[in-house]
C-alpha cells in the first residue's frame, strides 16, 4: 500500500507552475516520454492563452523513492484568480502542503501572496521552490533573501530546480515526501469527503473530485450531499492519472473521484461534504459557502435566428460550470436572450469566450450589473440586477447597492496610488495591516459595482503587477442611483442601459457615446447618439452621414463580381442589430465593455 502525500503548487503567473507539473508527471513515469505533451494539466486552450488555470485538474503521481518506498503523490491544481478564490481555498483545504514556486530571476511577486495566505491559514506545510535556476539572469541569493524577508519562510529550506531543464526535480519529489505530513484520518469513522472540484461528462454525469478525510467510499454506497441532502448511489470511485482509473475504494487521506450518475449538476457544490446516507457524519467539514452570482449580464445571439442554438448551448455549458446561473431575458433592441449571473467579471469573460470559441456561438453581452435594491413608496423593496426593470423613479423612496470588503495586498511603495484608485472608486473607511514587513494590506469598503468593471486591470496597472486583490460581499448600503439610457437617433437601445451612481453617470455616458461613435459605421444619414437620465440628455455624439458611395462604371457585363460584393456587405449587415434605421454592429456592444486604456 503506497503512502500518500497531498499537495498543490502556488506560483505567480509564468513562474513555471505548468512546466513543473508536466515535469513531475513525466519524471514519475505517469506518462511515457512519447506521450509527454507540454502543459498537460492545462487542457483548455483558453486557460493557456490567459495564463490562468480555470478548472482545477488533479492527478495522482506514482512515486518510488530511491530506497524503494512507494508513494502516491496527489497534485491538486488550483485556479488562479480572485473570482475563484473560494475554489482555491477548497482545493488547498484538501492538501497537507504546498510548493511555493518562485522564479529565480523574477523573485517573489505579489500574486503569490494571496494564495500563500490561504495556505498559511490552513496550516499547510510550505516548501519554497526556486525555479528557472538555469537562466543566466537567475539570482538565487536575492530570491532567497526575498523569501526570508518578504514571506518570512526559511530560505535554507528552499529547493532549487529548473522545471524546463529537468534539474532538481528529484529534490522536489523528495522534499514533498519528506516534509509534507502524511494525511491523518480515521478510516473507521463515518465518511467525510470534501468536494473541491466537479465537472460534467455527458455519459457519466457529474464527476466529483474530492478529498476523503475520514472513512471510505466505494461503488454501491449511497452517498449524501450534506448541504442539500441529495442522495445518490455510487457507480464508480477511482483516482485521476491523466485518465480516470477506477479503484475498489477511496479511503481516508486519499484524493480521487466519485461518479454517482448525477445528472443535475446543481446538486454538486464545491466545498460541500459528502457522507454516507446510512452512517452520516455529525458535522460537515468546515468552510462550506454557497457560491452566489454577484455580476449579471445578458447574453443575446448576434443573429436572432440563433436563439434556439444559444439556449441549447447554455444548457450544455451549465453542466460544466454550476456557478453560472441564467434565465430568459428579452430586449427590444437585441431580441430573445438570457440574463446570466456570474461569480465575477473574469468568470463572465470566461463564459463569453468559451461560448464563442468552444461552442461557436456569436453573442452580444450587455454591460455587467450588480444587484441593486430599491424601496418603493409602497414600502415594498425590489431587487433589480437588470436595468430593464429599473423602477419608475417617481416611486423610488431609497436605493441601496451591495458593498464589499476589498482587500488589496501590495508593496508599501504603492500605497498612495492604490489609496487614490480606491477613493476614486468610492471606497470608504480605509484600514491597513502590515502582514509582512514591506507589504501592506489595504482594506476598503467599496461598492461592488465599482470593482466588477475594470478595477482589477487598473489595480494591476497602478501597482505594476504587484497588487493582489480579494473581496467579499458584505452588505447593502444606501446609494444615489440613476439609470442611464442610450438613444441612437432617438430610439432607446435598451441593451445599453445601465444603473450607476449619480456621480459616475456623466463620465460613463460620455465614454459610451464616444465608443458607439467609433463603432457604428456611417449611414446615409446623420446619426445622433445620446446618453440620458430620464429625458435629460447628459452626453451626446454624432456620426455624420457618408457622403458618397457610388461606382462610376457598371457595365462590360461583369455583374457577378459586383453582386458578390453586395452579398458580402449584406452578410455583414446581418450580423448587425437594427435599431430603427440604424445598423449597430456587434463590435459596438463589445466596445462599450472594453476597459479604458489610459
Amino acid at each position: 500500500m503506497p503512502k500518500i502525500r497531498n499537495f498543490s503548487i502556488i506560483a505567480h503567473i509564468d513562474h513555471g507552475k505548468s512546466t513543473l507539473a508536466d515535469r513531475l508527471i513525466q519524471t514519475t513515469g505517469l506518462v511515457s516520454e512519447r506521450e509527454f505533451r507540454d502543459q498537460i494539466l492545462d487542457t483548455m486552450d483558453l486557460e493557456r492563452e490567459r495564463g490562468i488555470t480555470i478548472k482545477s485538474n488533479t492527478v495522482t503521481l506514482p512515486y518510488v523513492r530511491p530506497n524503494g518506498e512507494e508513494y502516491a503523490l496527489n497534485l491538486i491544481d488550483t485556479p488562479g484568480h480572485v473570482d475563484f478564490s473560494y475554489e482555491v481555498s477548497r482545493a488547498l483545504a484538501s492538501c497537507e502542503g504546498v510548493l511555493l514556486l518562485v522564479d529565480a530571476s523574477q523573485g517573489v511577486e505579489a500574486q503569490t501572496l494571496a494564495n500563500l495566505y490561504v495556505a498559511m491559514e490552513h496550516d499547510l506545510t510550505i516548501i519554497p521552490v526556486i525555479n528557472k535556476i538555469d537562466l543566466p539572469s537567475a539570482d538565487v541569493e536575492r530570491v532567497k533573501g526575498e523569501i526570508e524577508n518578504e514571506l518570512a519562510l526559511d530560505a535554507d529550506q528552499a529547493v532549487l530546480c529548473s522545471a524546463k531543464e529537468g534539474m532538481g526535480i528529484q529534490d522536489v519529489l523528495e522534499a514533498i515526501v519528506e516534509r509534507i505530513p502524511e494525511p491523518q484520518g480515521d478510516l473507521e469513522a463515518p465518511l467525510a469527503a470534501l468536494i473541491f472540484d466537479a465537472h460534467y461528462d455527458s455519459f457519466r454525469g457529474a464527476i466529483i473530485a474530492c478529498r476523503v478525510f475520514d472513512g471510505s467510499v466505494k461503488a454501491g454506497d449511497r452517498i449524501r450531499f450534506m448541504s442539500n441532502g441529495a442522495v445518490h448511489k455510487v457507480e464508480e470511485v477511482g483516482v485521476m492519472r491523466l485518465k480516470r482509473e477506477p479503484r475498489k475504494v477511496l479511503k481516508a487521506g486519499e484524493v480521487g473521484y466519485i461518479i454517482a450518475g448525477i445528472k443535475t449538476v446543481s446538486d454538486v457544490s464545491i466545498g460541500d461534504t459528502i457522507t454516507l446516507d446510512e452512517d452520516p457524519v455529525a458535522d460537515p467539514l468546515p468552510g462550506f459557502r454557497e457560491v452566489k452570482p454577484v455580476v449579471f449580464s445578458s447574453i443575446y445571439p448576434v443573429s436572432s435566428d440563433d436563439y434556439p442554438s444559444l439556449a441549447a448551448t447554455l444548457e450544455k455549458y451549465k453542466l460544466n460550470d454550476a456557478a453560472l446561473v441564467y434565465q430568459k431575458d428579452s430586449s427590444a433592441a437585441l431580441g430573445q436572450g438570457f440574463r446570466c449571473g456570474f461569480l465575477g467579471l473574469l468568470h463572465l469573460e470566461i463564459v463569453q469566450e468559451r461560448l464563442e470559441r468552444e461552442f461557436d456561438q456569436s453573442i452580444i453581452m450587455t454591460v455587467p450589473s450588480v444587484q441593486y435594491r430599491f424601496t418603493l413608496d409602497t414600502g415594498e423593496t425590489v431587487t433589480v440586477e437588470n436595468p430593464q426593470y429599473y423602477p419608475d423613479p417617481v416611486h423610488i423612496q431609497s436605493t441601496e447597492e451591495p458593498f464589499i470588503r476589498a482587500s488589496i495586498l501590495c508593496p508599501e511603495r504603492y500605497m498612495g496610488t492604490v489609496m487614490k484608485l480606491c477613493t476614486e472608486r468610492r471606497g470608504q473607511n480605509p484600514r491597513f495591516n502590515v502582514p509582512i514587513p514591506g507589504r501592506v494590506e489595504i482594506i476598503f469598503d467599496m461598492p461592488l459595482a465599482e470593482v466588477i468593471y475594470d478595477f482589477y486591470d487598473r489595480l494591476k496597472t497602478v501597482t505594476q503587477g504587484y497588487g493582489s486583490f480579494d473581496y467579499e460581499v458584505t452588505d447593502y448600503r444606501p446609494s444615489d442611483l440613476v439609470k442611464v439610457d442610450f438613444l441612437v437617433n432617438g430610439e432607446r437601445v435598451d441593451a445599453l442601459s445601465i444603473i450607476v451612481h449619480r456621480d459616475r453617470a456623466r463620465a460613463w455616458a460620455v465614454q459610451v457615446c464616444d465608443r458607439l461613435k467609433e463603432e457604428i459605421p456611417r449611414h446615409q444619414f446623420k446619426i445622433a447618439i445620446q446618453g440620458a437620465i430620464g429625458t435629460k440628455i447628459i452626453a451626446r455624439s454624432t456620426i455624420s452621414a457618408f457622403r458618397k458611395d457610388v461606382t462610376a462604371k457598371c457595365y462590360g457585363g461583369d455583374i457577378t463580381r459586383k453582386r458578390k460584393l453586395l452579398e458580402k456587405q449584406k452578410k455583414g449587415k446581418k450580423r448587425m442589430k437594427m435599431v430603427g434605421a440604424v445598423s449597430i454592429p456587434q463590435s459596438a456592444f463589445v466596445a462599450v465593455l472594453k476597459t479604458d486604456k489610459e
Binding site: 457610388v550 462604371k553 453586395l566 449584406k570
Partner: protein, 391 residues
C-alpha cells in the same frame, strides 16, 4: 473545359430556349483586347501589340459558332475594349461580316465602336461607316491638354476635335463622347470648361465617369504613395451634382449614373441591356455573358482564350446560376443605377420593405413615381448602398 451549357454535350438541349427570360432582343458584345499602350488609370485587360489580332478574330468567330442560335436575335453589337479603333480595316471587316453571318439580327441594329481620337482619320471613319457601324463612342476624356497628359492619353484636344469632325463627315449621326472628371488637380471650373467645349460638338451621348482608382494601376500606386491629388468626397459630390445640373440644363437626359443622352432615342441601347437584365452574349477574352438565367465569363488572356477556342472548347473561365435572391439583388443593384429605378413590386410589400421605402423617400434618396422607386441625385451618390436598404 468548362461549358456555359453545363456539359460538353449537345448545346441545343443544354440550354432550353425558355431559359431566356426576356423576349427583348439580346446584345452582342465583343471584347477587343488591344491597346497601343496602357493608360495609368485603366485595369481593363489589353495587349499592347496587334500581332495577335488576326488570330483573335478567328477565335471570336469560332466562339460565335459555339453558340449557334442560343440567343434568338440581336439588335445591338458593341465593340469595346481595349481599343477597337486600333484594329485594321481588314480584321474589322472580317469580324463584322463573320458575326453578321453567324447570328440573326433585327432589321435595325445599333453597332457601336469604341474609338480613341488618335485613331480616327477621315478615311478610317468612312471605312467604319461603310462597314455598317452606326455609332461611335469616342474616348475624349478631356479637352484640356494638360489633363490629357496627366491621364497618359496619346491624343490632344485638337485631335479630339478633328476626330469628331471626321466622324460627322463620314456620316455618323450618333456620336458618344466619353469624359472623365475628378482628375488629379482638376478644378470644378476646369471641368465645366471641358463640358462647355464638348457641347460645341453637339454629341448625342455623353458618358461622364469619375476617375476611379483601380487596384493594380499606376494611379493606384501613386495614390498610395500620396502622389496624386484627387478631389475630396465633398468635392466629388459637387462634381457629380454640378455635372448633372449642367447637362440637364443643356437638354440632356441623365439616364444612368454616368450617362447622358440628348433625348431618349440616343441612350446607349446596348448598355441598357446590362442594367435591365436583358440577355447579352460576350465574345472574346474576359467577356461576360448572360442568357437570362446563367452568367459566365471567358478566360482573360488572349493566348489562353485563343488556345481554348482553337481546341474546339468553350473559352469559359467561370459560370454561375444566380438564385432568386441573387437575381433580386442584381435587379436592385442595376436598377438603382438608372433613372427609371426599380418597380415597387421588386422591393416587395412586407412591413419591412414598406418601412424602408418610407425611410429612403423621407431621406430624399428615392422617390416613388408610377409604381417605380426611382433614385434621386442624392440617391445616386450612394447608389452602392441602396440595394442593402431593401433586404
Amino acid at each position: 473545359m468548362v461549358s456555359p451549357h453545363g456539359g460538353n454535350g449537345a448545346k441545343a438541349q443544354a440550354i432550353p430556349q425558355d431559359a431566356v427570360a426576356s423576349n427583348a432582343p439580346a446584345g452582342l458584345y465583343v471584347h477587343v483586347p488591344f491597346c497601343r499602350g496602357k493608360c495609368p488609370y485603366c485595369d481593363f485587360y489589353s495587349e499592347p501589340s496587334p500581332a495577335l489580332a488576326s488570330r483573335w478574330v478567328d477565335g471570336v468567330l469560332r466562339e460565335a459558332d459555339l453558340y449557334g442560335d442560343l440567343f434568338s436575335r440581336f439588335d445591338t453589337l458593341y465593340l469595346g475594349g481595349g481599343t477597337p479603333s486600333f484594329l485594321s480595316g481588314e480584321d474589322l471587316g472580317r469580324l463584322l461580316s463573320g458575326l453578321q453571318r453567324r447570328f440573326r439580327w433585327e432589321s435595325s441594329v445599333e453597332i457601336t465602336l469604341e474609338a480613341n481620337p488618335d485613331d480616327v482619320t477621315p478615311e478610317k471613319a468612312a471605312l467604319w461607316w461603310d462597314l455598317g457601324i452606326n455609332r461611335l463612342s469616342l474616348g475624349v476624356q478631356s479637352l484640356d491638354d494638360a489633363m490629357l497628359g496627366v491621364l497618359g492619353r496619346r491624343h490632344t484636344a485638337a485631335q479630339a476635335a478633328a476626330a469628331v469632325e471626321a466622324a460627322r463627315q463620314a456620316g455618323f449621326t450618333n456620336l458618344g463622347l466619353d469624359l472623365m472628371w475628378g482628375l488629379p488637380g482638376q478644378s470644378l471650373a476646369q471641368w465645366r470648361e471641358t463640358m462647355e467645349s464638348v457641347l460645341a460638338f453637339s454629341p448625342e451621348h455623353l458618358s461622364c465617369y469619375e476617375l476611379t482608382l483601380e487596384k493594380g494601376t499606376v494611379f493606384y500606386q501613386m495614390a498610395c504613395r500620396g502622389d496624386l491629388s484627387l478631389p475630396s468626397q465633398a468635392q466629388s459630390r459637387l462634381f457629380f451634382t454640378a455635372t448633372s445640373r449642367f447637362l440637364r440644363q443643356r437638354g440632356y437626359v441623365h439616364y444612368e449614373i454616368s450617362n447622358f443622352a440628348r433625348g431618349d432615342v440616343f441612350r446607349s441601347r446596348h448598355n441598357q441591356k446590362y442594367w435591365r437584365h436583358v440577355p447579352y452574349l460576350g465574345l472574346g477574352p474576359s467577356a461576360h455573358s448572360f442568357d437570362g438565367r446563367r452568367r459566365w465569363w471567358n478566360a482573360r488572356s488572349v493566348e489562353t482564350y485563343c488556345e481554348m477556342v482553337e481546341a474546339g472548347g468553350w473559352p469559359v473561365a467561370g459560370r454561375e446560376i444566380p438564385g432568386p435572391e441573387e437575381r433580386r439583388l442584381e435587379a436592385l443593384m442595376l436598377g438603382f443605377r438608372t433613372r427609371e429605378g426599380v418597380p415597387l413590386a421588386l422591393v416587395g410589400d412586407t412591413d419591412r420593405a414598406r418601412r424602408a421605402v418610407t425611410t429612403t423617400v423621407s431621406q430624399g434618396l428615392l422617390e416613388v413615381q408610377r409604381q417605380r422607386l426611382r433614385p434621386t441625385l442624392a440617391g445616386w451618390l450612394v447608389a452602392n448602398r441602396l440595394p442593402l436598404l431593401f433586404d
